[in-house]
């Protein structure tokens, strides 16, 4: 950034007390994250080991993909409740495909993604063309999807899958499991797309003020459609990776994941009203949740208490955000 282009008043504010306070508030998430990490490292020797870092990342990966899709949807002011179900349908589909075509790993991945994209497409059409409220459209998909997942398996999990199916999630490249790599690539790619491309700008514009975006020539319907399609696609990918990790197709896979994804987006600073939020924020929110899960596990905190802590965190994150926004105004 060239300093000459910046008007004088902005520069004067730098390093003043208000500026520092504002920065602290803006970086609250990052600060909390660092504090959490410091705390767990102090309390548990195992926490900061490389193996444990891998554990955190591998646990985060399937959530990361749906949280990324959810970020885009929430940026437009919508919500995608169906991602958990889409994970189940995609997992079951890929398991069925793997069983019928052992050895054809790419086909199983492609089938899961295709199923996810299809579900996203239906959501997208309902929201952008039929004008069904996103909450309702994706609630319908959530319900129908969990039914379909059972239909595919005939009411039971699909087991006895070929060993190749497990290679999708369990192979290491450059010392990292594939899902972790997919997660990192996903975050970087979408982060750049949302910040650096016209498409990203239009998503923000439609969520910020749909009428204004339309008057400016943005095709709001197409933009809306695209975010649901992307969300579905990523949920499909997440589904096949989850199924591959356990080398089976349980029809209840992914149940309730949509709420964790929404939590990550919200903790990451996005507004459910649309127009505000970032991919980086979501990534940070997600890592915070996963780090907490992992660290609390290591400290042998019961799972019920972990849920309580997570619940408090979600509300606290939004309360701080609302408070700091008011302060700024």
């Amino acid at each position: 950034m060239s300093s000459t282009a910046t008007p004088a008043p902005v520069q004067r504010r730098r390093l003043s007390r208000e500026w520092i306070v504002a920065q602290l508030i803006r970086r609250a998430m990052l600060i909390v994250m660092l504090l959490v990490i410091a705390f767990f490292s102090y309390r548990s020797l195992r926490f900061s080991s490389p193996e444990n870092l891998q554990n955190i990342l591998i646990a985060a990966a399937p959530f990361a993909l749906i949280a990324l899709g959810q970020t885009l949807v929430i940026l437009t002011g919508g919500i995608d409740l169906s991602v958990g179900s889409v994970i189940a349908v995609a997992a079951m589909t890929s398991a069925a495909v793997a069983k019928a075509n052992p050895g054809q790993v790419w086909l199983t991945v492609a089938s899961a993604m295709a199923v996810g994209l299809l579900a996203g497409t239906v959501n997208g059409i309902l929201v952008s063309r039929v004008d069904v409220p996103p909450f309702i459209a994706t609630l319908g998909m959530l319900t129908a999807g969990s039914g379909i997942a059972y239909v595919i398996g005939g009411g039971a999990p699909i087991n006895g899958l070929p060993a190749e199916f497990g290679t999708i999630a369990n192979t290491k490249v450059l010392g990292l499991q594939i899902p972790v790599i997919v997660m990192i690539v996903g975050i970087v790619v979408l982060g750049v797309v949302m910040r650096r491309t016209s498409y990203g700008m239009r998503v923000y514009a439609v969520g910020g003020n749909r009428v204004a975006a339309e008057i400016a020539g943005v095709n709001a319907r197409r933009t809306l459609f695209s975010v649901y399609a992307i969300s579905g696609l990523l949920a499909g990918l997440s589904g096949v990776m989850l199924a591959s990790r356990v080398i089976s197709g349980p029809p209840n896979l992914g149940q309730g994941y949509e709420l964790d994804a929404i939590a990550a987006v919200v903790i990451g600073g996005a507004s459910l009203m649309g127009g505000r939020g970032t991919v980086w924020g979501t990534a940070l929110g997600l890592l915070l949740i996963q780090t907490l899960n992992n660290g609390l596990d290591l400290l042998l905190v019961p799972a019920y208490w972990q849920d309580v802590i997570k619940g408090v965190l979600i509300v606290a994150a939004v309360a701080v955000d609302v408070w700091s926004t008011k302060r700024r105004a």
Binding site: R196, Y204, I215
Partner: protein, 519 residues
């Protein structure tokens, strides 16, 4: 039909109705390049509808819009874009969370060779775009942090920089301060000099004089004046805007007895955020006697609604004293106001008045729920009877108390909103736009009800942007501007021939006519 080449935008015989109520009744007008046209008229004259049709946002029921001889596809924002017509709506169409340059470039972003956004380039270009208009705005600032006036200018720059040949501004100065208006004027003049055709809606005389080359006046959906500014006087314009006959709409007003006691006594009331530059010093004093109807006149944004809400306690007030029948009422406490005998019938029936999905009975119970319940349980019989009587007293036409309010006509909804207060004693009735969205027949009925309630001993304060309403139904009227009382008119004044013009001049801050002696 042959299209004349000199007009860049031509509207032909536009007609439009909303819900069976005609808003435009065949309006034709032409805009020429390099000119500024003022589209004037009172509230509800059809100005905004006209604008939106010309911009392709609304579809006209009949008639057509031609841009450079080509017919605009009705109801298509895209088509109007293509043809170079841009509208800056009254409610700003900016994206608050995005930066100024993002707002300027969304929809036609600049990209680098790699296909990524060229943020630095957009920021730089935004800077020079704004510089052309002589406004110093940081292109990297978030739109929402700018004052409304600057947001407006960014909107205008955005639209005109996309090659628009016709720029339509809907009430451009309605939400901005006096100081910001100068910047707006400068931008509009600059656009005109660069050969753009501009049309703006307004009801402010000063703005028409300062900015327009030509003035078009709409009244009740009909074009009543279309002249070059050099050919008309201010008086011609005012007459054209308000020239309607006082219809035979109002009941005969009873006289208020001289010895009648003061029921509502407001002293030194400062309504938060009201009063233009010196907010803190703007205070309001008013008194209303038993049986008296006090009208509040003024333009949109003059602070009528805010004053009523301040008195009733739903809006914050910072200083002052309110008394009802001699007893002091706690400020900022609607429950105390209700207990003291105040009732407010708000302007926005749908959002603040009635709960549309609830029945007449439930709506009638709401303001005095405590009175109709024992230990939290509703007293069925008592409330049906009380609400039934109240509704009957205003001659509500419904299928019974169980009918949803949302399914009633506008006039009957208004009766419910009013009558729901009448289940108990009311001392002070505060009415905000009592006949908005009500058809003419029901209107005169509502006027009669208001007059009857006053005659029975209530003190009534009625805010209205409909001047005939203030003239026809007030014992006395106050004119508001920028949250302050700028004039008081007695019944005698209200009957004078030139009263409409006098109110208009007070309300718009125009100096009184030079030949006027006693003002």
């Amino acid at each position: 039909m042959v299209v004349d080449g000199s007009a860049v935008l031509e509207c032909r015989d536009l007609r439009k109705s909303f819900g069976g109520v005609p808003v435009l009744k065949g309006v034709s007008l032409r805009l020429e390049l390099g000119t500024v046209t003022a589209l004037a008229g009172e509230n509800g004259a059809g100005k905004s509808t006209m604008m939106k049709i010309a911009a392709g946002q609304y579809r006209a029921d009949d008639g057509a819009v031609f841009v450079r001889g080509e017919e605009l596809a009705a109801g298509s924002i895209r088509d109007s874009h293509r043809l170079g017509v841009a509208i800056v709506p009254q409610e700003l169409a900016s994206i608050a969370h995005m930066t100024v340059y993002e707002n300027l470039f969304v929809g036609r972003e600049l990209t680098t060779k790699l296909g990524t956004l060229d943020r630095r380039g957009m920021s730089r270009e935004a800077s020079s775009m704004l510089e052309v208009f002589g406004v110093a705005i940081d292109p990297d600032a978030r739109m929402g942090t700018l004052p409304v006036g600057l947001q407006q200018i960014v909107e205008i720059v955005k639209n005109s920089s996309r090659g628009a040949k016709v720029v339509l501004l809907d009430e451009p100065s309605s939400a901005i301060s006096e100081r910001e208006v100068e910047g707006l004027y400068r931008v509009v003049r600059q656009l005109r000099d660069s050969g753009v055709a501009i049309m703006f809606t307004t009801h402010k005389m000063a703005e028409i004089r300062d900015l327009a080359d030509r003035v078009v006046v709409l009244r009740d959906g009909v074009l009543v004046l279309d002249e070059a500014m050099t050919a008309v006087s201010d008086d011609d314009i005012v007459t054209a805007m308000i020239g309607r006959e006082l219809e035979d709409l109002f009941p005969a007003l009873h006289t208020v007895p001289r010895e009648s006691d003061v029921v509502l006594d407001v002293a030194g009331l400062n309504v938060a955020g009201q009063g233009g530059p010196d907010t803190a010093e703007t205070t309001i004093d008013l008194q209303v006697r038993r049986g008296e109807i006090l009208g509040l006149a003024g333009l949109v944004g003059a602070g009528r609604t805010e004053l009523l809400e301040g008195i009733f306690g739903v809006r914050a007030t910072t200083a002052g004293r309110i008394r009802v029948a001699g007893r002091e009422v706690k400020r900022k406490d609607p429950a105390a106001a209700i207990t003291a005998g105040m009732a407010l019938v708000p302007e926005d029936r749908k959002h603040a008045g009635a709960v549309m999905g609830l029945s007449v009975l439930d709506n009638g119970t709401l303001p005095r729920v405590a009175r109709f319940s024992v230990a939290g349980w509703l007293k069925g019989r008592a409330r049906s009877q009380a609400v039934g009587e109240a509704m009957a007293s205003v001659r509500l036409r419904s299928r019974g108390l169980g009918q949803d309010v949302g399914t009633l006509s506008g006039g009957n909804q208004q009766k419910v909103v009013l009558a729901r207060w009448l289940t108990d004693h009311v001392e002070v009735l505060l009415l905000d736009e009592p006949t908005r969205g009500v058809d003419v027949g029901a209107r005169s009925e509502i006027y009669r009800i208001i007059a009857d309630l006053a005659a029975a001993g209530m003190a009534v304060v009625m805010a209205s942007s409909d001047m005939t309403e203030v003239l026809g139904l007030s014992h006395r009227a106050l004119v508001l501007r920028e949250g302050a009382v700028v004039g008081e008119l007695t019944r005698g004044d209200l009957d004078a021939v030139d009263v409409q013009e006098r109110i208009f001049r007070l309300a718009s801050g125009l100096s009184p006519r030079t030949d006027e002696k006693d003002f």
